[in-house]
């Protein structure tokens, strides 16, 4: 039951809300539109909003000039791969902490969270030197491993809060039904937790996709994902806005769509369950 409100007031509030939302969204929309302009139209004064020659040439150009697909491939491999690895470690850990808690489980969870508080610059130097000496600089494995570690506390925390909502009775029933621990996790826990695991995975992919500190510092070309690809536009030659926009659209579109699907779970993941 909403508060009583006249239709007039509701329309007014609606217009205001849409204006605010439009302003917030506008830079993304503008990037999207600009990506279909010629470079000349892109810098035209006054700006051309909708009436210009729509063209796809920027997208073709971006791919041919800087091999967008390679970077996109790296982004996908890194963000999906790192988090699949992460889940393999995190699901058992979250099971253990949610369903067989010990005296120190709470401290352990807090400690895991605290690793997330470590600013990256605090460990940039040793990680950089270690990677250099181990030959991991600019390698997908090395960067994927870092991304996995970055997200591991979030994975464990989110899974933990989801698992906590599953009644332990059901797992005990499986035990009474003769299920081994492996069968209990595979046949009973996992199917029940699929929605939670999926949204955890989604959030982790978004975070990895957009991670820019480590990817910019540890990857130069072979393993560079889209963050680095875009950064290469910061020192461009000639007209480049339309191409920048096309590249940006390509870089953010997949994750924007994923993000829209996962926004409900996002709140919980980003606040470590403190706001639901």
């Amino acid at each position: 039951m909403a508060m009583k409100q006249s239709i007039g007031k509701r329309v007014g509030v609606t217009i205001l809300a849409w204006t605010v939302a439009f302003l917030i969204f506008f830079p993304i929309l503008w990037t999207f539109i600009t990506s279909f302009k010629s470079e000349l139209d892109a810098i035209a004064m006054p700006p051309k909003f909708l009436f210009f020659n729509w063209t796809l040439e920027n997208y073709a150009e971006v791919q041919s000039r800087s091999n967008y697909l390679k970077y996109a491939f790296n982004s996908i491999v890194l963000s999906v791969g790192a988090n699949i690895l992460g889940l393999l470690v995190a699901v058992p850990a979250a099971w253990a902490m949610a369903f067989a808690p010990g005296k120190r489980t709470k401290d352990l969870l807090m400690w895991m969270l605290s690793t997330k508080m470590m600013p990256a610059v605090g460990v940039l130097v040793p990680i950089y030197l270690l990677f250099r000496d181990l030959g991991l600089l600019d390698s997908l494995w090395g960067i994927g491993f870092v991304l996995m570690l970055l997200n591991l506390p979030i994975l464990i925390w989110m899974l933990y809060t989801y698992f906590k909502e599953i009644p332990i009775d059901i797992l005990e029933a499986a035990r009474m039904d003769g299920a081994s621990l492996f069968n209990e996790i595979v046949y009973v826990l996992t199917p029940m937790a699929v929605p939670g695991i999926a949204s955890t995975m989604l959030l982790a992919i978004i975070l990895s996709w957009n991670e820019a500190f480590w990817t910019l510092n540890l990857a130069t070309s072979n393993a560079a994902p889209l963050t680095a690809f875009i950064a290469s536009y910061s020192a461009p030659e000639g007209f480049f806005w339309a191409k920048l926009s096309a590249a940006s659209t390509l870089a953010i579109a997949p994750i924007l769509i994923l993000g829209w699907f996962s926004q409900k779970q996002l709140v919980r993941g980003l606040t470590f369950g403190a706001v639901k």
Binding site: V20, T115, V125
Partner: protein
């Protein structure tokens, strides 16, 4: 409550995560601490030696550090103020019964998903460019001289970009908190004759106070390490006008190749972050009880 069998299994299952995170946190941190006590330049790798706290005294007394610290605080403080203040307003607006609420939510949350390098470049070029940017056109159409954003107001420009990235986060979380406000409480307050302002200050604000705290703390952690936005727009300049601590450490390490000094800076950043972290952990920890 569990049997010994399950607790034994639990320990085995937790172990990989604990070992990985331990190595990830402790080993590099110990190395950073160790490096921070060395004279260690990658350009002069033969000449490594113990110098005690000298890197710290040098780093801390460097005027660049003072300005980087100040820049960090200004950046964090301003973005917090803008995103939390704006976030409350946006959340209140979105919580009204408006037409097309879901579409609105999608539009408002969108900037959060944009990777930082994209946001920074789009703002710097498409919007804030003094010749052909959209803002310049708006200024001209009002007969004003366009602002040369990143040259004349570099810090303000960075703050605007970063605020745009974080406003959606604050809005979304505060909106979620608002929506958990009991409808009956709203109606009771109406019956008690509360006007919109007293309703906001006595009912709404206390209800979302915790969410606000959480937003502030989490944003602070991320804002203390803003890097990519500066990297692709100003490169820390002009001069050191937009160099914050992460960027300073990056410059020392990967541009000046001074491992010792960069490590000392890294430790300073860790100390700063930990001060915030302690507060966040208290709040999350309290939540764990319930």
């Amino acid at each position: 409550m569990a049997t010994q069998q399950t607790s034994a299994a639990a320990r085995v299952l937790v172990a990989p995560s604990v070992v990985l995170l331990f190595l990830w946190m402790i080993v590099p941190l110990a190395m950073t601490l160790y490096f921070s006590s060395l004279r260690y330049s990658l350009l002069d790798a033969e000449n490594i030696g113990f110098v005690g706290l000298q890197n710290y005294t040098a780093f801390l007394s460097d005027p660049d550090f003072t300005s980087a610290l100040l820049n960090t605080l200004i950046l964090v403080g301003s973005v917090l103020a803008i995103s939390v203040g704006g976030g409350i307003l946006v959340a209140l607006l979105m919580d009204q019964p408006v037409f097309g609420q879901n579409a609105l939510r999608l539009m408002v949350i969108a900037p959060f998903f944009v990777m930082p390098t994209v946001s920074a470049l789009v703002w710097k070029n498409l919007l804030m460019n003094p010749d052909s940017g959209l803002f310049a056109w708006i200024a001209r159409s009002f007969g004003l001289e366009p602002v040369v954003w990143f040259t004349n107001y570099p810090m303000l420009s960075v703050i605007i970009v970063v605020s745009w990235e974080w406003l959606p986060f604050a809005s979304l979380i505060l909106l979620t908190a608002l929506q958990s406000l009991d409808e009956e409480q709203k109606e009771a307050a109406q019956l008690d004759g509360a006007g919109p302002f007293s309703y906001f200050f006595y009912i709404v604000l206390p209800h979302i106070a915790r969410a606000i705290t959480v937003v502030i703390l989490i944003e602070t952690i991320f804002l203390l390490s803003v890097f990519a936005e500066i990297y692709v727009t100003t490169g820390g300049g002009p001069g050191v006008a937009t160099t914050n601590i992460p960027f300073l450490v990056y410059k020392e390490a990967l541009l000046n190749f001074d491992v010792g000094s960069a490590s000392a800076g890294g430790i300073v950043a860790v100390v700063l972050a930990n001060i915030v972290a302690i507060f966040l952990m208290r709040i999350v920890g309290r939540n764990l009880e319930g």
